[in-house]
Amino acid sequence: MRITLKLFASLATHLPVEARVQHRVELELEPGTTVQEVIRRQGIPEAQCAMVLVDGVWVGPTERSGRVLVEGEALAIWPPVAGG
């Protein structure tokens, strides 16, 4: 199955160089892959995953190992950020 991984701010360095301007890359995954598994597979420091959204919906730290991704979803991750 294919999903979209979006990494923003300083996490963009974990994307292929050519994908960093658009902040996204398409990933081919085994069915049943969880959010947590994608984070680990891509080598993203878990402590830096402050905000994790799947199709815009918050996935909290304790939910990531149980949240199975499905075809076509977008997983977006930010380090600690805020604004105002």
Binding site: A12, G56, A82, G83, G84
Partner: protein
């Protein structure tokens, strides 16, 4: 005591500058800055006064931690009755001006009356005088600061000034200090213009302006606070690197980014105008928009953006004055100048933002008003002949022209200067104004974030994100995560945010510290600086008292609970796309509970018991 205990009262009509002691009993009840100046204002003016009448007053005010070694302790506020809303107006700014005012020995400057001719106030420590400003009238903020420093032969003078927008009474004109920090919202600059007051120039060199109640404890408390800010991912890394602008992609992904006058809730051009885009090298000249970050006085976060435009951009090709580095777009400005009207060219946004700084007008209200005008144009209610040029959503050329015209007070810029409430009413569609109490929304959609919708509706100065930043729990999970569409618990959480924010805004500290600091980090700093009991419980009571005092002023000014509402679009038109698709604001479900937790009647009036408890 961290207060200087001195108030400077300036009568613009007679030209007198007199010193009076700070009301220390009020300082114990309202702390400083926002709270204390509000107490002075409501005690001295008729709430029903015309904001442009000489009988309105304008107060520049610092907090007890302004000009101290507390991290971010450089804030000041300007408090008056606002012309955009008819409500209390209180705008907060950073930079270096506030600390300089404190070093000169003043907690507060109260301007009353109106000058018969343009003047500026010159403060040199304890000496204050009004000086003829005929040669400055008609000049921009940037020109004014340069001319004042040159004339007085002192590059260290700090200047807070209005530009042509304030002179022309653009209803959302701000006061700009240090070239690109601003008391930006609610039209405080227009009130300054109505008083023929061009600028306040201040030089402070006193080392005895104030004392600390407990200097050792203060040094310990502020050092501990700085360590917390440095270790926190948001204040130690995220904000300095990406600024507030990092939110552009966050809020768009979440489906809460108001787009094209709130017709849409996601913007296809968000990435192109985001904080990340500011770091990306341009194909034209190989340089990034962002040059560096910048800090205000005493700040260890440094979220400010310093940008340099592409010199080949059509807006500045023959204008060298805009080709150097200057204040870049923050999130709210980027949203208002961009997504709010469908413009996705970062360079255009940066240019418009430069003009907002240069001539002193609020980019949020300006950009949102342009968005409303673009919708009126697309509906055929405004024509090319009326505007002078085409005005479709997404037009970079129109954005550039309108920023220039509004800055100069020319052509259709005069109408943009009225704000969207008056503009939409004039062209027969008042419901298209995306405002609360006449003030334009900032960059979060009240349908996508229910708590922010409630915060907007109940904000004492009209739609504002800085009076109760529910984005923290609803988006960022600070201090706890709340689902964007949930309503349960939001009224009580909002009240806590509003009260705490009122404390921070009255202290001299920057609100952005609260991404890392809780009240338990702030309290020891205030306690060590100020004499008296400043327990956490008492501080929250001070915050609640300030909120209610502002509310009482607004009620006396003629506003009612019916003004605590949102435009029909947010209450009735479902969000079209994204994770919040189908959502409308659930304000009617939340407002009664909000009134209840506030101790107000079902009509939104503080009960006698609440008034007694708070001593308002």
């Amino acid at each position: 005591m961290a207060w200087t205990k001195n108030v400077l009262r300036v009568n613009l009509e007679t030209g007198s500058c007199t010193t009076e002691p700070l009301n220390l009993a009020w300082a114990q009840d309202y702390l400083g800055q926002r709270g204390l100046a509000t107490k002075y204002l409501v005690s001295e003016i008729d709430p029903k006064v015309d904001p442009f009448s000489p009988k309105n007053k304008l107060i520049f005010v610092t907090g007890p931690l302004t000009g101290t070694m507390a991290a971010t302790g450089g804030r000041y506020s300007v408090v008056t009755k606002g012309p955009l809303t008819g409500a209390i107006a209180c705008s907060n700014s950073g930079g270096y001006f506030g600390a300089e005012l404190k070093f000169a020995g003043w907690d507060m400057v109260i301007f009353e009356g109106a000058s018969p001719k343009p003047v500026y106030l010159l403060i040199q420590d304890g000496k204050a005088e009004l000086v003829d400003a005929a040669h400055l009238w008609g000049k921009t903020v940037w020109e004014t600061e340069e001319m004042l420093k040159r004339f007085h032969q002192d590059p260290q003078i700090r200047v807070a000034a209005i530009g042509r927008a304030g002179e022309n009474r653009v209803l959302y004109a701000g006061i700009v200090n240090d070239l690109h920090r601003a008391a930006g919202r609610s039209g405080v600059g227009a009130v300054m213009g109505s008083k023929n007051l061009k600028a306040v120039a201040v030089r402070g060199t006193r080392t005895d302006a104030y004392t600390m109640a407990d200097p050792e404890a203060f040094m310990r408390a502020t050092e501990a606070g700085k360590q917390v800010l440095a270790a926190n991912g948001v204040t130690g890394q995220g904000l300095p690197t990406y600024g507030t602008q990092v939110l552009m992609n966050v809020i768009n992904e979440l489906g809460a980014l108001p787009t094209r006058n709130h017709r849409d809730i996601q913007f296809e051009g968000a990435q192109a105008i985001s904080g990340e885009a500011m770091h990306t090298k341009r194909p034209t000249d190989g340089k990034a928009n962002l040059v560096t970050n910048g800090a205000c006085f005493g700040c260890t976060i440094a979220c400010g953006r310093i940008s340099r435009m592409d010199p080949s951009h059509f807006s500045i090709q023959d204008k060298p004055q805009y080709q150097g580095a200057s204040g870049g777009v923050e999130y709210e400005a980027a949203w208002a100048l961009g997504a709010a009207n469908g413009v996705s060219d970062l360079e255009t946004l940066t240019y418009a933002n430069f003009l907002c700084n240069e001539d002193g007008f609020d980019p949020i209200s300006f950009g949102a008003t342009v968005g409303a005008a673009m919708e009126l144009y697309e509906l055929g209610l405004l024509t090319k002949e009326q505007v002078g040029f085409e005005l479709p959503f997404g037009s970079t050329e129109a954005m550039v022209k309108l920023a220039e015209l509004t800055a100069r007070g020319e052509g259709f810029g005069k109408e943009i200067g009225l704000g969207s409430k008056r503009l939409c009413a004039k062209y027969g569609r008042p419901e298209l104004s995306m405002t609360v109490k006449g003030q334009e929304f900032p960059a979060y959609d009240g349908r996508g974030l229910q708590g922010m919708g409630l915060a907007y509706a109940t904000s004492n100065r009209g739609a504002c994100h800085l009076r109760g930043y529910m984005v923290s729990p609803e988006v960022l999970g600070i201090p706890v995560k709340m689902e964007p569409q949930a309503t349960e618990g939001k009224p009580a959480m909002l009240k806590a945010f509003q009260d705490l924010t009122a404390v921070v805004d009255s202290s001299g500290l920057c609100l952005f510290t609260t991404f890392a600091w809780g009240l338990s980090d702030i309290q020891p700093q205030i306690q060590a600086a100020c004499e008296g009991d400043w327990s956490e419980e008492r501080l929250l009571l001070v915050g609640e008292r300030i909120w209610n005092l502002e509310r009482e002023f607004n009620l006396a000014a003629g506003l009612t609970g019916k003004d605590d509402t949102l435009p029909p679009r947010l209450l009735k038109e479902p969000a079209k796309t994204g994770p919040q698709k189908g959502a409308v604001s659930k304000l009617p479900q939340m407002l009664p509970e909000y009134y209840r937790v506030r101790g107000w009647t079902p009509e939104g009036v503080p009960t006698a018991e609440t008034r007694t408890r708070l001593g308002v």
